[in-house]
């Protein structure tokens, strides 16, 4: 009996210590997360759906620039429609790619830290060497934009061309390729940047913000075909 009581006490103490330790860890982790808010650059993107024509030139440019194998895609344009009566019909186009969340579900679940947010640019990236391919991030992404690259076998997704064009000081491939200038890329921390000006003057929306993702892919809504309740 004496033994059992001692055992119970020991267990309780250990649990308490464990709980305190883990909350400390989580607190420490959330401290490091605020780092990007103090960095000088935090890249974001606007997809102006009123200008998008659904030509998918951006999709080709992305594939070519980032060597994305056939069968998978970092960027898709999702068409809905047609709305209205023929011949006065129209579609609406929605960009499906990494939303570059500030509160990153993929980074939070990655067991090895292969998914990370670059503290210098705020870009969510993948270290394909560290990735073991558990696919936890793919399941955790509410926007379902992650995939396993069939060549590297690692998780892959849009990184605003961080490893390709951004390094050369150019804008991302999709932004440069867009014939209608429907994509605006820029630094949220720079008050004079085009993106900040557009965001401050144009009504815009983001998807699934209720999940706490704080995405940095802003969208300017086109006239939609129906009012959804």
């Amino acid at each position: 009996m004496e033994n059992k009581r001692r055992l119970f006490l020991k267990c309780a103490c250990a649990t308490a210590v464990g709980a305190v330790g883990s909350t400390k860890l989580i607190a420490a982790q959330s401290d490091t997360k605020t780092d990007t808010t103090e960095a000088e650059v935090n890249y974001a993107l606007i997809h102006d759906e009123t200008k998008c024509i659904g030509c998918e030139v951006c999709v080709d440019a992305c594939r070519e620039t980032n060597n994305v194998p056939e069968g998978v895609s970092r960027l898709e344009i999702v068409k809905t429609g047609p709305f209205g009566e023929y011949p006065d019909q129209y579609f609406s186009f929605s960009r499906k790619s990494c939303q570059q969340c500030d509160g990153t579900p993929c980074v939070n679940v990655c067991p090895t830290g292969a998914a990370y947010k670059d503290p210098k640019t705020g870009i969510v990236s993948v270290d394909s060497w560290k990735c073991v391919g558990c696919m936890y991030c793919i399941a955790a992404c509410p926007y379902q934009v992650r995939f396993i690259n069939p060549v590297t076998k690692a998780a892959d997704k849009c990184d605003f061309c961080k490893e390709t064009r951004l390094k050369e000081g150019k804008s991302p491939a999709c932004v440069a390729a867009c014939p209608t200038k429907a994509l605006v890329f820029g630094n949220l921390k720079d008050p004079d940047s085009e993106i900040v000006k557009v965001l401050k003057t144009t009504p815009n929306y983001r998807r699934k913000t209720e999940l706490g993702t704080r995405p940095k892919l802003f969208r300017i809504a086109t006239k939609s075909g129906e009012i959804k309740l």
Partner: protein, 156 residues
């Protein structure tokens, strides 16, 4: 005279076969196309009037007039002939209306969604050619296809 005509047609046909894509169906080789014996038109339009595309198939029993309408006073006096191109006197809407008498708009949209948003703005001939043996836009690569959008929509 007729043997000379045959040789002439044959040589044109072989030429078009070489130019056209390898997987095209050579209607022109195998069929005597009644549409091209249409004296009213071909008498003058030997060069620019011949028709080899899928619409020329004998089984369709199409005549030039089905699409281009009756010649009436053409070429000297007034006529209601339709020209299918950008420099036509007819609006894009009038031109597409001719095609959509047979082609159901729903089917067109199913094959390519862009039909839904262009039918009253762009004439069909902007992308499609019916007189050539194959319509060049059918076998186009996705890259070229996307470039077609850019050609018109590019903002400067």
């Amino acid at each position: 005279m007729s043997s000379f005509k045959k040789i002439f047609t044959l040589s044109i046909l072989t030429l078009t076969t070489f130019i056209s894509t390898p997987f095209s169906i050579s209607y022109a080789n195998t069929l005597e196309l009644t549409i091209n014996i249409n004296k009213q038109c071909i008498m003058c339009h030997k060069k620019n009037g011949k028709m080899f595309g899928i619409h020329s198939s004998n089984s369709l029993e199409l005549r030039c007039q089905n699409c281009h309408r009756e010649k009436e006073g053409h070429p000297r006096k007034k006529s209601s002939l339709i020209k299918f191109s950008d420099d036509s006197l007819n609006t894009a809407e009038e031109q597409t209306a001719v095609c959509t008498t047979c082609h159901n708009s729903d089917d067109l949209i199913e094959v390519d969604w862009t039909h839904a948003v262009h039918s009253n703005k762009v004439n069909c001939a902007k992308c499609h050619q019916l007189h050539t043996e194959t319509d060049p836009v059918i076998a186009i690569s996705t890259g070229e296809r996307r470039q077609l959008c850019v050609n018109c929509h590019e903002s400067r």
